[in-house]
Each structure stands twice: as C-alpha cells, then as structure tokens.
C-alpha cells in the first residue's frame, strides 16, 4: 500500500508491475482505434470471432442501422457502430452534390427501436442480436425508415436533403488502467497480464456477475448458457506468441492499430493534430488521458463526435475510486446499527421494562 490512493484511481505508470509482474515484464500494449478511417467492414468482428471461437449471437437485423451487433457483450468482443448524421465531415466534400442525399434512416428508427429496448428484459444490453419485440406491435409491420431500394433522401424531396456523414467505430474492451471488472472480481478469475491487459480465466470464473455491473463501459457480460463472464482478451494467446491481435491484423485500413501504449499515444496525438489542421475540429481522443476516471484506457479511440453518440460513456469512472469513502460510510452505518442494538437492550435493562 506504499502508493496509497494511487492504487485505486489516477494515473499509473506500470500497471503490470503494480499487479505483481516482475520488472522485466513486456511493455504495456493496447489498441488505438482511429475511427476517422474506419470503413465499417466488420472484418474485426469476424476475425475476433474466428480466432477466439466466440459463438454466433443471432443473425437478426436490429432495425436501426447497418449495425446488427448492437453493443459489446459476451459474444461480441468487437462491435462496429454506425452513426449517420445530417452534417458534413469537416470541410470534406462527400461527392454527393446534386444527388439526393440524406440519412438512410433517422428519428424513425430510434423511435421504433426505443420502446422495444425498454421492454426488453435487460434493456437491450444483453446484446443487440436478439430481435426486439413489443407486445402491441407484434405481428404488425412498422416502417423503420430503413435503407430501401430508393436512393437515400430521395423520398423526402429536395427540401429535406441534407449533408450526410457516416461515423463508423469499432468498439472493444478498454483494458482500463483501473479496471472496474478486475477490482471487483471476488474469485481472482480476472487478472492483469504481463502486457498490462485484463483477462478472464475461464477455469476460475464462477459467473457471479459482479464484473458486469462494475464495468463503466458496459463491456463484459455473462454468456447465456455458459454462465461465465466473457470479454476481449486482447488476444492474450496471440500476444504470447508474438503476434498482434486478430482484429488489428484483419483491419484493412489500419483503423485498429495495435502496439505499445506509449507509442500509440504519440501516434494518436499526431493524428489528432493532423485532423485539426485539416479542419476536422470535432476530432477528439477518447480514453487517452491517464488522468481520467479510469486512469486511461489501454484501448483508446479517436472519435468524430461526442462519445455518447457512439454509445460510450462521456466520463466513465471506476467505482473503486470511491471505495474508501463508501467503506467509511458503511462503517459509520454499521457502528450506528451496533449502537442501536446495544442501546435497545441497555435501555430496557436500566430504564425498566417497557
């Protein structure tokens, strides 16, 4: 406990060393996912599934965009988000002048999907791959404004036509410096590898589900039918064999970059400066800052809009940050409880029977 508070939150230079790995452990590695060059091909999702033998999780259409994965979960360790917005990307000309442009779908999708999400047992966080049903709509066809055979925006007429930009982003476990899942795991199944990543040992996990609630990003989940917690391992087996993770290897545009974290951060800073110079002022890094609520992410991102637009929390904080304060309150409450118990019998003994 020499480092005091620093062990529960804040920046940490050597996560693997802090976790007890000997000083000659390999440097911390991670992902830098540059979403500005993601083309939404989902090769990362496929490569991950193939290499890690992640089971199929339903082949249903979610009815909200070209994203039919929904979110990360036990059976999706990479998830490509698709966001359509009626605005240009930086000063870029999408080459659509004179064409009927506009989002392929808009509020209509959200409006149709949202009540179903609320009605779903776990609010849709069980992974978007099961179709969403809402009793009153069962059996009825509802227009989602989904891609049709007409060109996007054609039906709306020239007035409704807008600029359009597509944001695509491949999400993954963040391998946090202070990982909520790792902190709360009561069996020691989750551990910090020598590479500074966070991995579940499947032979230890007993499926208590605490990590699911402790992750501020909603990444880890319990696999139905299996009962154990599952998430991205950053291809721990490949790393040990000197290979890069499957998703990074498969990414055709190098949107997913794997490497030593320090180097990735430098690279990300350069890319950000470059984009700002090009007029893409909305570009920002997410999870790069070691001073954030989780001490910085091992897998961080370059985003082109607010994090919540991609389904990411804007300011995630590891619950452990407040652990000391919480135990202090619990201690006070416990003391009050004990005092009330003693006082109850003492008052009866001294004050006579009531």
């Amino acid at each position: 406990m020499s480092a005091g508070r620093n062990r529960l939150a804040g920046p940490l230079d050597d996560v693997a060393g802090e976790a007890g790995h000997p000083a000659d452990h390999p440097p911390r590695v991670g992902f830098f996912t540059d979403t500005s060059i993601c083309i939404g091909c989902k090769a990362c999702e496929v490569a991950c599934k193939e290499w890690n033998d992640v089971p199929e999780d339903g082949l249903d259409l979610l009815g909200m965009s070209f994203d039919n994965t929904g979110m990360l979960g036990a059976n999706s360790w990479r998830h490509v988000a698709f966001v359509e917005q009626p605005r240009p990307l930086g000063h870029q000309d999408p080459g659509l002048v004179g064409l009927p442009t506009g989002p392929t779908g808009d509020g209509a999708m959200t409006k149709a999907v949202q009540p179903r999400l609320r009605a779903a047992e776990r609010g849709g966080s069980e992974l978007g791959t099961s179709p969403l049903h809402e009793p009153e709509h069962a059996g009825r066809v509802q227009d989602l404004g989904m891609p049709a055979f007409t060109r996007p925006g054609e039906a709306a007429g020239p007035d409704g036509r807008t600029d359009v930009r597509w944001l695509m982003a491949s999400d993954v476990c963040k391998h946090c410096t202070h990982a909520g899942c790792l902190d709360v795991c009561p069996t020691g199944a989750l551990f910090r590898t020598e590479f500074g990543t966070v991995v579940v040992q499947q032979d230890i996990c007993n499926g208590c589900g605490y990590c699911v609630s402790a992750c501020p990003y909603g990444v880890i989940d319990r696999r139905p039918g299996d009962g154990r917690a599952q998430k991205c391992t950053l291809c721990y087996d490949r790393l040990r064999g000197g290979l890069e993770p499957a998703c990074a290897k498969a990414c055709p545009t190098d949107s997913i970059q794997y490497g030593e974290l320090d180097e990735l951060r430098e690279r990300a800073d350069r890319r950000l400066a470059q984009l700002h110079e090009l007029g893409v002022t909305e570009a920002r890094l997410y999870g790069r800052d070691p001073d954030d609520g989780v001490g910085g992410d091992g897998a961080f991102f370059l985003l082109l809009d607010e994090p919540e637009v991609y389904g990411l929390p804007p300011d995630p904080v590891v619950p452990t940050r407040d652990a000391v304060a919480m135990w202090r309150r619990a201690g006070a409450a416990a003391a009050a409880f004990a005092l009330a118990g003693v006082a109850a019998f003492a008052s009866a003994a001294f004050g006579g029977r009531r």
Partner: protein, 350 residues
C-alpha cells in the same frame, strides 16, 4: 510489435505528395470543398445524445434472488443482534426467535447467493482469495465469519428436549453464548456491506446513492430483525426488539428520504415504474410499522405482531425497490450520460 503495416510511415509518405492534404483525411479521394469554409455546424445538443437510445451499460445479470438476499442477509444480521441481546438479558422466547430467524435468513441467503451464480458448482471459488477491492470478496468473508457462529448459536436452539442431557448438547449449550456474541459482533458488517456491494458498481441508481445507502440498508436490517422479534415474542419480552426496530425504521425512512433528495437525475429511476411502486409501498409499510411499534406494540401482542410484519414487509420492499431502481437506471442511457455530462466533463484530449 506493431503489425506489418505502419501508419506512421503512411502518414509521412502522404505528406510529401501534392495531393497530400486531401489524402491525409482518408488516404483516399475525398476532396476538400471550397467556399464553404468556416466551422462545421454542430448539431445543437438535445437534452442528451445516445446511440439509437441503446443502453451504455450492461444491466446487472443478477436476478430477484440478489434483491431477496439483501433482505434475508439483513434479517439474519438484525435477528442475531436481537438474539444475542435477549440471551444476555434472559429473554428466552426472544432469543429463540432471534436465532431461528438468523438461521433462516442465513440459509436462505446462502441458497439465493449460490443459485444466482452462473456456475453454482464453483461457489467455493469465492474462498480462493481475500480481496479488499472487491466488496463481494469482503462480503464473502464477513458472511463466513458471521455464518459459522450464528449457525452454531441457532443449532443450540434446535436440540430436542430428550437429547439435552447428552454431552454434545451440553457442549453446544455452553458454546452458544460466545458464538452468539461473535455473530452479533459481525452482524453490523453483514448488515452494511451489501450497500457497498451495490454502490461499488457503475450502475447509476446504486453508485450515486453511495453516501446514504449504507444507512438505508442497516436501518432496514434493524427494522426487520426487531420486527421479527415483535412478531414472535410476547409483549413483555419484546421491549428491546421494539426499540431496535423503531430506531431502524426511523433511520431507514430518514436515510431513504435524504438519499432520494440527493440523487439528481437518477432519482427518476427510483421514482418511476416498478422501482417507484415498490418504494412507495415500502414507505407505507415501514411508516405504518413504525407508528404501530411506537404507539401500540407495547400494549397488545396482536398490534406488536402486526407492526413487526409491516416492518418486515417494508424492509423487503425497500431492498427490492433499490434493486429495481438500479436495474432501471442501466436500461436508459440518460441516467449514465446526463450525470456524467453534468459533472462538467469536457471532451477529453482535444
């Protein structure tokens, strides 16, 4: 360690060419539009933004069993304090009721906890490690430290009359009091750690309640333990149980009110839907039980039993209300995004 392609070199090479600036954007054929300069317009923020309204967090995988455990664990803790006190002050019926209540609560707790695991046969993996950063690990050890002596004290109550003269029974009788005191000493931990268990998560409905939740839960535990004593023991023995229950119910109601006021946006998750209904029902039951305890339970056995039942119901409803509020708060991205935005997080890194 980086792969065969190196984007750093790719950047550099594109900077050289005359088409460099355009190529840099996508390293493709995108053209920069002239004459439309200026800052890109930012879509005005609605109340909050989200990814198609999908949740940011995972809803807890815990079932109703965990909510039920919050109650049974609290009941076991509260009952054991009543039982140990009754033992020391010679209240036999109250003592017996307390230890049997503690045993019932404990056994129910163990069943609920183990069966909620994804791999129940691996429950003993909890005992592999003692991990201060995991409230569940801390709770496992607290519960073990509580369970063994509480079970011993309770089993001493169960020895049939004809076996009481045998030496194991007499040994058990002699151990019962120290065991009971040990259980009562760890009971405050059992009653309070569950609040940390819930708050030590990213679930907004639980995490944001972290300051008051321990008091709600220990109050609820005391109310249920005292309530059980009032239900099972005669009026003249149940005096301390009434004081304990009244103190607990008061604390529970007061702490819940304070908690609610300080929750901000997330209060809505506690107010609406199933969580809201449970919460209101809990308030009514606990308030009625408290009033009955203070005004009537000292005079009539029936009133005492009814008040005790109301307090037990109020305590159970309180646990389910808090549990459900947490579940609801993960399903709507608003409870995640709005509070995080409100703490003034500027977009980082840029």
């Amino acid at each position: 360690m980086s792969g065969p392609h190196d984007p750093v070199t790719a950047e550099r090479s594109s900077e050289r060419g005359s088409a460099g600036r355009e190529a840099q954007m996508f390293q493709g054929s995108m053209r920069r539009r002239r004459g439309r300069g200026g800052e890109p317009t930012v879509v005005p923020d609605a109340e909050f933004r989200s990814y198609y309204g999908r949740p940011v967090l995972k809803a807890p995988v815990w079932e109703w069993k965990i909510a039920a455990y919050l109650f049974t664990g609290g009941l076991a803790a509260g009952s054991s304090v009543v039982a140990a006190g009754a033992d020391l002050t010679g209240r036999e019926t109250l003592r017996r009721a307390g230890w049997l209540g503690a045993l019932g609560g404990l056994l129910a707790s163990l069943y609920l906890l183990v069966s909620d695991l994804g791999r129940p046969e691996r429950f003993h993996h909890m005992l592999r490690v003692a991990k201060p950063t995991s409230p569940m690990s801390v709770g496992t050890w607290i519960l073990s430290a509580f369970g063994a002596p509480a079970g011993l004290a309770a089993v001493a109550e169960l020895v049939p009359r004809r076996l009481r003269r045998t030496w194991p029974a007499r040994l058990l009788r002699r151990l019962a009091r120290p065991a009971g005191l040990a259980a009562a000493a760890t009971a405050p931990g059992v009653a309070s750690y569950t609040a940390v268990l819930l708050s030590h998560t990213a679930v907004p409905g639980w995490n944001e309640a972290r300051d008051e939740l321990p008091f709600v839960f220990t109050g609820s535990a005391a109310a249920s333990g005292g309530g059980l004593g009032m239900l099972c023991a005669p009026v003249e023995e149940a005096g301390p149980a009434r004081v304990f229950a009244a103190a607990g119910a008061t604390a529970e109601l007061a702490a819940a009110a304070v908690m609610h006021r300080r929750l901000g946006v997330v209060a809505e998750a506690h107010d609406t839907g199933r969580a809201g209904r449970l919460r209101r029902a809990s308030e009514v039951a606990t308030a009625a039980g408290l009033a009955g305890t203070v005004l009537l339970a000292g005079r009539s056995r029936a009133a005492g039993a009814a008040s005790g039942l109301a307090l037990l119901a109020g305590s159970a409803l309180q646990r389910f209300a808090v549990f459900e509020a947490g579940m609801a708060s993960t399903k709507d991205p608003r409870y995640v995004v709005v509070p995080q935005r409100e703490r003034g997080a500027t977009s980082r890194g840029s």
